[in-house]
């Protein structure tokens, strides 16, 4: 490598150090011998490299003077990583024996395995029993479940009280009189390449997210965002049941429907509050600006609304708009290469921005439920990831449509 740049890609440094650990970490590696994506995300980053404490190990380029330190850190963690890998095998075996099928084992067990490896080293004679106990804890039926939610709202007296609560909360809501355009351009200009926490703070402190939703109760505004089928948002029902398909648009969902999807995911469910608290918080949230609770989520909604405004039509303004536009335009080419319908994109041009805003809302809602805060350096991942997921879902839909036709 030349010395002019004096950096190495972090992926390269990690891959080389990882290769040095050999077969002992194979259960944490993929088929080509690199660490699994979740090995990096759930183990190496938060537990071994810890870029929060060691910014020189953060994603991106690693300065050559830190390369040895990064490699030593992984090599030094070799024994505990090997033990983590062995524990993961024990967990997989126990999971199979106990016929647990819920959730992604990497998501659910990686960090538990690392804890056990740190505490006990390699799994010993009673490893299976230890693993079974942790599995029981992870998959405990306690905590919020869809069944628990249904049961809670099916009690007549509770349902009555909650319905009154929705009415009272919505009646007490006051919105700011007029929408104030938020100074989002500055943050959006740099959020992909060099996110500025201070700029995001300023937007949150100025309540720019709430201000951006002040016109939602005017006829047609929330409808135009694709967040409701109604002329203006109205008080949600408490609801009794929900299904994953055919969910109404976000603002039209009942309280039960809003909580349904997060509760069906074992990994996401793990960090959630109990059912009564979840329901009461959701009622509160539904009456807030953007029907979200945290100002930072509302700010990200405004950022997403601005960034997605340049997907079609006039040339994009600003870096975030340009990047999203480029992803969207790439998709037309991808469609040709993958031999997908050429007309579908044109039909969806108007729908894409609405789908984008809807998906963004669902994602931010989920983050709020789990108590994840959104820092400046996560905003672009959210804004870009939402468009990717809208696009990939559209591809899946077209594919299954073609397959259904071919089978007819």
């Amino acid at each position: 490598m030349s010395t002019a740049t004096a950096t190495l890609p972090r992926g390269l440094v990690i891959a080389r150090a990882w290769a040095g650990l050999g077969d002992a970490v194979a259960p944490l590696s993929n088929a080509t011998g690199r660490p699994l994506t979740r090995t990096v995300k759930l183990i190496l980053d938060p537990l071994v490299l810890r870029p929060v404490l060691h910014p020189e190990f953060a994603a991106g380029a690693v300065a050559v003077e830190h390369v040895d330190a990064l490699r030593d850190r992984i090599t030094g963690a070799g024994p505990v990583l090997a033990a983590t890998a062995s524990w993961f095998l024990v967990f997989k075996k126990e999971r199979r024996r106990l016929r647990v099928t819920e959730g992604n084992p990497q998501d659910l067990y990686f960090q538990r395995c690392f804890e056990l490896a740190t505490e006990h080293g390699m799994p010993g004679q009673d490893a299976a029993r230890t693993a079974a106990a942790v599995l029981a804890e992870v998959h405990a039926q306690e905590g919020p479940t869809v069944a628990g939610l249904r049961e809670f709202v099916s009690d007549e007296a509770t349902a009555y009280e909650l319905t009154r609560l929705i009415e009272a909360t919505w009646a007490a809501t006051r919105r700011s009189p007029a929408p104030v355009p938020a100074p989002t351009a500055e943050f959006l200009a740099t959020c992909a390449a060099a996110p500025d926490q201070a700029l995001l703070h300023a937007l949150v402190a100025a309540a720019a997210g709430s201000a951006g939703a002040a016109d939602h109760d005017r006829p047609g505004v929330a409808h135009a965002h694709g967040l409701t089928d109604r002329d203006r948002p109205s008080r949600p029902a408490l609801g009794a049941r929900a299904s994953k398909t055919n969910l109404p648009k976000p603002f039209d969902r009942s309280i039960v429907e809003r909580l349904f999807t997060p509760l069906t995911n074992a990994f996401l469910r793990a960090g959630l509050a109990d059912v009564p608290s979840l329901v009461r918080q959701e009622i509160d949230r539904s009456a807030g600006s953007w029907q979200l609770a945290d100002e930072v989520s509302r700010v990200v909604m405004v950022l997403g609304r601005e960034a997605s405004a340049g997907l079609t039509g006039d040339p994009p303004t600003g870096d975030a708009q340009a990047r999203l536009r480029s992803r969207w335009e790439r998709e037309a080419y991808v469609h040709r290469v993958l031999r997908m319908p050429s007309s579908a994109l044109h039909a969806d041009v108007r729908g894409v921005r609405e789908a984008y805003v809807r998906r963004l809302w669902v994602r931010l809602h989920g983050r709020e439920l789990r108590g994840d805060t959104t820092a400046a350096d996560q905003v672009w991942d959210v804004l870009d990831g939402v468009l990717r997921s809208v696009i990939l879902d559209q591809r899946d839909r077209l594919r299954s449509l073609l397959e259904r036709e071919a089978g007819s």
Binding site: R34, K92, P105, S326, L402
Partner: protein, 328 residues
């Protein structure tokens, strides 16, 4: 390899046509191989150099740094650990095969086993997960995978699915009933005035609906006091979707199946079609709702013939993917 910056950062020669392009959507860059060129090293369009820098060395080795550093011409060494690049190629190749594999009874290109293809695809995908644009690509792909018949492939896919906590369904029985040509048949009757055959443009129909090599045949016929055009195409391994044809300005719905198993249709035409110049006496077959009918670009027929020859060479070839190698 040439590195161009005139239209974004592009490494190497980008494949000229969709139907020869094996593509992989990676983080910050798209990789593409021209299947007919047979190069191990792909072309790349880098749209986010910071993201791509993390893994581009897996594809170009030490040349990756030069590419991102502004070099206009780079050399990728032949020696090195290219296992990740090879896995990328397998993923891209199978995506290509799913879209463009020219299954054709008339040209002797067997259809691929779709279940095996998806299984092999997700296994290769799991080896390159760390550089994909979509961080959930493996889970997404596992969602449409079924257990293949091949025992080794099946056990590897099952293990992968277990690692991601996804239940696989057993594969449905393959339905190939439509993929056979009958031995004889009848004609529509009448007096044939003019006949011809046109290549079917693959980009206008979904994969597998039409035999990739058999031309669309047309005949202008006087029948029952009227002039009509009869059009027929040979179905591929996955027929079923709506098909239509354009002959001059005339739209022909291909909604019947004749005694030869061909998909056919007829429509009245003005007698003036006989005065059309020969180059306009062509039929354009297309799938309504999938593409709009346009005359094929020059060279499309030769390109299709080259791809058919390429596909034939992949069957049984040790260098091909398992799915292509074992097609029958």
């Amino acid at each position: 390899m040439r590195v161009s910056t005139s239209d974004g950062l592009v490494v190497g020669d980008w494949p000229a046509w969709p139907e020869v392009t094996a593509m992989l959507e990676a983080a910050g860059a798209v990789l593409a191989w021209d299947v007919l060129a047979g190069d191990a090293v792909p072309a790349a369009r880098v749209h986010d150099p910071a993201r791509a820098a993390e893994w581009l060395w897996e594809i170009y080795g030490p040349a990756a740094e030069d590419i991102l550093g502004g070099a206009r011409d780079v050399t990728v060494p032949a020696d090195g650990d290219w296992s990740v690049r090879d896995a990328c190629r397998t993923v891209a190749q199978l995506d290509w095969a799913q879209a463009w594999w020219p299954a054709s009874l008339s040209a002797g290109v067997p259809a691929l086993d779709g279940v095996a293809l998806r299984a092999e695809h997700v296994l290769a995908l799991s080896g390159v997960e760390h550089l994909l644009d979509d961080p959930d690509a493996v889970e997404r792909a596992l969602g449409s995978v079924a257990l293949p018949a091949d025992a080794d492939l099946a056990s590897r896919v099952a293990a992968l699915a277990e690692d991601y906590g996804i239940d696989l369904s057993p594969a449905p029985a393959p339905a190939r009933s439509g993929f056979a040509l009958a031995a004889g048949g009848d004609s529509g009757g009448g007096t044939t005035v003019l006949t011809g055959a046109s290549t079917v443009d693959w980009t206008l129909v979904p994969a597998g609906t039409v035999d990739a090599a058999a031309p669309a045949e047309w005949a202008v016929v006087r029948r029952g006091g009227a002039t009509v055009v009869d059009v027929s195409v040979v179905p591929g391994p996955r027929p079923g979707g709506p098909l239509a044809a354009r002959f001059g300005d005339v739209e022909v719905t291909l909604g019947e199946v004749d005694g030869l198993g061909r998909v056919t249709g007829s429509a009245p035409v003005p007698a003036s079609v006989l005065l059309l110049p020969p180059e306009q006496r062509a039929v354009v077959v297309y799938a309504p709702g999938f593409a709009v009918p346009v005359m094929p670009e020059p060279g499309a027929g030769a390109r299709q013939a080259a791809i058919i020859a390429y596909a034939r060479s992949r069957v049984g070839s040790p260098s091909a993917t398992l799915t292509e190698r074992t097609a029958r």
